[in-house]
Symmetry: C2
Subunit: 144 residues, 2 copies
């Protein structure tokens, strides 16, 4: 049951919530020992705050839950390749593993290289990519 796909679907459900709220549809969850300890979706519009990306909100929630600012035993599942800001936050959190869905050629951190993340962070990309990408495209198409 606890497959990469299962967890990515939970992140996707968070992205759907963002979509329904008129937010750029990105969702993230953080898993520790096969347990989801944080769920979040993009809330930049609701909060009028550029820092309220799904990843940042999830990191804050997971740190609160664990009582530590280091997430080296955790995996983050996020529907879109993190931006520079979020990659920087994941660096400081020393995230154990990052799994992301859709790529973001324009604003994704990979443009600046994998070393934006902590050396200990393993990365898996392309999980549920088609669905994650389709949700984003559908969102932006509706706004044009």
């Amino acid at each position: 049951m606890f497959t990469e796909e299962y967890f990515m679907k939970q992140a996707y459900k968070e992205a759907e919530k963002a979509f329904e709220e008129g937010e750029v549809p990105v969702g993230a969850i953080i898993v520790s020992d096969n347990q989801i300890i944080a769920k979040a979706h993009n809330q930049t519009e609701l909060l009028n705050d550029v820092t309220a990306h799904a990843e940042i909100v999830a990191i804050t929630a997971a740190s609160e839950y664990l009582g530590t600012k280091y997430l080296s035993e955790c995996t983050m599942y996020v529907t879109l390749e993190p931006c520079i800001m979020c990659a920087g936050a994941l660096y400081w959190a020393q995230l154990g593993k990052l799994v992301f869905g859709a790529s973001d050629e324009k604003r994704g951190f990979f443009r600046y290289g994998r070393e934006l993340l902590h050396p200990k962070t393993t990365v898996l990309q392309g999980a549920l990519e088609t669905e994650c990408s389709a949700l984003l495209k559908s969102f932006f198409a509706a706004r044009r």
Copy 2:
């Protein structure tokens, strides 16, 4: 009165608060129309949250105050060169002007280039650099 030095000293006072609280001493303020609309210092230890850098806390507070997530008419004064995470946040906020004190060769955003910030953001570095840098050195020296 409303000189770069005056505002940088207010950011420095925030850094001193962080120092007193056992946090890495970094302070930031955000100014709009010569008025300070946000003051913050690093609170990563207190909040157990890697995202609680002075800049992130200040951006959230300024956006709340202005009721908009864009800070294109604002100047941020921060005692240390922002990291990747904070530069990424300042990009999304489309900050008008960034003034920083001490440089951070290891973790500062300049390592990856000025383009991590928004093209509209002007940058002034080295304001009150000696004091800002001395406070950081004093903090780390006491911890060795």
